[in-house]
Symmetry: C2
Subunit: 661 residues, 2 copies
Amino acid sequence: MDKVQTQAISTLRVLAAETVQQANSGHPGIALGAAPMAYALFETMNHCPKNPDFFNRDRFVLSAGHGSALLYGLLHLFGYGITKEDLMQFRQLYSRTPGHPEIERTPGVETSTGPLGQGVANAVGFAIAESMLAAKYNKEDLPLVDHYTYALCGDGCMMEGIESEAASLAGTLKLGKLIVLYDSNDISIEGNTSIAFTEDVARRHEAQGWQVIRVNDGEDIDSVKAAIRLAKDEKQKPSLIVVRTTIGFGSPKAGSADSHGAPLGKDGIEALKKNLGIKGKPFEVPAEVNKFMAGVVDSLNKNESEWNRIAKAYKAKYPEDFEKFNAEIKGKAISAEQLENIIKTTDKVDASRSYSGTILNQIADACESLIGGSADLAPSNKTALKDKGDFCAENRTGRNIHFGVREHSMAAICNGIALHGGFNVFCSTFFVFTDYMKNAMRMSAIMNLPVTYILTHDSIGVGEDGPTHQPVEQLASLRCTPNIKVFRPCDSRETKAAYISALTGKGPTAIVCSRQNLEYFEVGADADPLKGGYIFADSESEVPDVILIATGSEVSLAMAAREQLKAAKIDARVVSMPCMELFESQTAKYRESVLPSAVRARVAVEAGSSMPWGKYVGLDGGYVCMDGFGSSAPANKLFEIYGFTAENVVKAAVKSVRACK
Amino acid sequence: MDKVQTQAISTLRVLAAETVQQANSGHPGIALGAAPMAYALFETMNHCPKNPDFFNRDRFVLSAGHGSALLYGLLHLFGYGITKEDLMQFRQLYSRTPGHPEIERTPGVETSTGPLGQGVANAVGFAIAESMLAAKYNKEDLPLVDHYTYALCGDGCMMEGIESEAASLAGTLKLGKLIVLYDSNDISIEGNTSIAFTEDVARRHEAQGWQVIRVNDGEDIDSVKAAIRLAKDEKQKPSLIVVRTTIGFGSPKAGSADSHGAPLGKDGIEALKKNLGIKGKPFEVPAEVNKFMAGVVDSLNKNESEWNRIAKAYKAKYPEDFEKFNAEIKGKAISAEQLENIIKTTDKVDASRSYSGTILNQIADACESLIGGSADLAPSNKTALKDKGDFCAENRTGRNIHFGVREHSMAAICNGIALHGGFNVFCSTFFVFTDYMKNAMRMSAIMNLPVTYILTHDSIGVGEDGPTHQPVEQLASLRCTPNIKVFRPCDSRETKAAYISALTGKGPTAIVCSRQNLEYFEVGADADPLKGGYIFADSESEVPDVILIATGSEVSLAMAAREQLKAAKIDARVVSMPCMELFESQTAKYRESVLPSAVRARVAVEAGSSMPWGKYVGLDGGYVCMDGFGSSAPANKLFEIYGFTAENVVKAAVKSVRACK
């Protein structure tokens, strides 16, 4: 460890502390404690500051996202173009240095982090994607995809269940190129971790199939580097490097929870600089550090060229593979047009989970980049890809991922796979268990990642399994989450539309499917589910007496009610609304054509919370919805007792028509 | 192991399989595999079939809730009054034998289970409650509270992150009276667990501070009993008993995932009975088993009397303590009237999290049964109970629980504490992280448990921490969940109401608080926040031109808009709606008085998803809401750029007034 490296690390520490101080908001504790290991990693990692996106770079995930000031300091010192001015704009509107790392805002940020534990699971996803692509494309002489994935996390990440889930799967899958640095400082917000967290994290990871390497002095970057080398040498197991550090190192609050989440204050900064021997104005980088870092950056910038050489040779020797590879990593493996042709719809009466399973396999046959799996429910979710193999240590080209009963990490791992590039990824569980993985789904949404969530058993239609397994509020919960498209198809056509939208649109998509069979109806040729909401069966006159808006299994109910209303001389239109988000994105004219504002008599029919429907049915409308928990009984019995009958829809329609008179 | 015991276990197995067969739905696999250990536990546990609710009973949690047929079979054999007819009504509407165990439906069911992992965390809550009550009430000669907590779980529970979180905390807290039986059969739904779950569960638990005991032959109940004895002898560590079993034991599908979740079929049942040597009609219990079990039950029924003796002596010797104990375990530690007097409101401008913290401590001073904590955010959530000590191995009477960064298990543990009885329990985290614990909150709601969730940092008011930390859809997500009351108070009065409702009402309550200061307004004496929604500032005429409905920090915005509208000769009423659920429970007349149906010009003002407001503002109303993710910047900046200005509310109001003309 050279003196100038020590000085560079001290500079990094001061920069991070000053960044937080300038914003008067942020987290200096981890930045001061973890600076040496992060610095050591950035010195040794295969990355390229002048082109942070070159594909074969090592991925670095700051799972402890509150350590953003440390990351921005690193990006500043390592030539990523994060300027002093950027650091001074820390946590300010639209700056390149937001409170927690955000993709697309900052070069060198691989994933948005902040909610603890998510980043480690993202990293598992990166490592899965790398191993899959490598197995698929690498040729003996040309390792087109060959990189490591690093994550840095703290005690907070280690306490979260999602980390344990992700670690357990990573160990099972023998992801040898995954390396997690654990900033172990015994401190979390409420004080010493002894009050809440005495587990032996190292031993836990060993039990989960990891190699564990210990660095007892987090100040010693040579030890950190040696540990990283050991980690890289281990091909069969992911590695955990436990680095003992002092939170708030060098500051007057060193070793105390007080250093975690508040600026050090002017005096604190002064003391820190004195302790570390750093002089000069705020945000000043000592000349010798500047000079030294220039050399380091120069050397790192050469990393890309070796890969460019490989890629060039690959392209020459395997042009078709290279083209496919390129299309896949750019997310252009398949187009909407192709999907239109590939997917065959059916008029067979079946459950939408079955439509989904058939379509998923039609796509999988045509599109190699489609991979995914279920949280141990593939037979029920109908998400097994036939003859596509199981992804495991022995078969890196298997396209079925067995996530185990680990919904939360499953979704976060899929975020990592989507971020890595190269795949169209889906995951699956019972719809009600989205509650186990909501934060990871939210991260898909925040990052606008094209993850497809296949969520079956969508309502009281679940039947006998009872209220714990029957979704009620989940449709509303996902619909009110920004950026997620939520489809609840009523037939094979709408299921097809859901998949086309999911695989070719932006952001995550939830495809919510029934367990039970759905009735089939003929619709007009111009009925377009990709509009999100459309006239499924029109009224006889141009202006209907009442509009019945339904989704999924309740469309047939609305259709039956329409017949009964006809007999009562009430002219009803049935609107199927498989995806509110797409409907909202249509022109005002289109929306008006489907839901004319003059028609105030409206009834929403959906076996889920009424909440999303208020804006469509207004003060005079009616609801045939499900605002309480269900029961354990056969599904048909449940639909009956909870009012999902044509008679009840008719009643609500008549009431609404009268209210509007 | 007597022959008759073997026969009793075989009977239990057949009963469970026949129960599933009769319903043509359910899970025979675990019932057949885990029958011996469950039987052994029921023989040795301190319970009392004739009075399943006697307070000092050992608690048994079937965390693998899909094994309900096994539990019902046990309750049938062990004299809990579950009849053959009940078994035949398995999974039928309103039966005592629903698809997954449900409290209050079945004697002997301690908690509703089904979503995997929840039960283990519930059990941790039971064990915490037991140790707290024991420390508080037991006298040297009179152990008023002294019981074990058992859970039975399978591989599914073990894969879930919530289990790891709960296990880690249980080890830290040295919950020596917690004993988990792990039905280890290497099978989950997608096949052999080797594809997804190779972790060494035993070693992982050792790393988390548990004693691990192995039973290599799950058929050998003497070994199981010996393991239970060992577990009970260990006072410092929770115990995991790893019992090796065969899923679907005795059936043609033994050892296969196919036995997990589908009836065995007629032939399968026949083969099972033949293999196990059980004859007779369906649901028939052999005479010798019946006779033997009668003796077992007789003996178990005596368990209560020892405790009755202790309780009687206790009552005589410590009448005041006994009275307090009784009030607490009946959930009557404090009344609404008392709370009215204890809680002092303030007109000080402050954050609602501060109002909450003050009120929480006022209650804690007066009400010993109030306990709880945060997922490592107590200083930010303001939920530390001053001078009330930290609950830990060395201090079982500490009332602050440090849950660590484990939101999901925190909520599930609180469910366990609430189920056990003796406490008013709260837990706390940042509002956005309800997404980490949603399923456990849903379980609070399904079970109607009085858990208080204190959720601070309620909107973009979080500011610099950015979109990952800013709730948007969380208010909607909780409001659409049945049975939860969601409060978002705008001042100290409303915060007081929230606590009164939470501590004296039914079911869970979420108290959603601001990070930032809230403006203070005087309101009329008849303004009653406990109505859920009320006139905060009235219009000048009886029928206002427009109604502004707001909550929390946005009430002041509505008030400012009202002033501006006055200048524009628009007569606005401001309605504060701290709790929609309470408002909905008022009479139609009251609701009409607050929101007259004649007034269609309405604007909802809330820094969260617009979804919940559709039903109140209708087709002509306006929204000043937050339907996208936020940004990292100071909060005042964010409120401005996202349109939370009086001007914008005025604009929406004017537009709505015009639309209604």
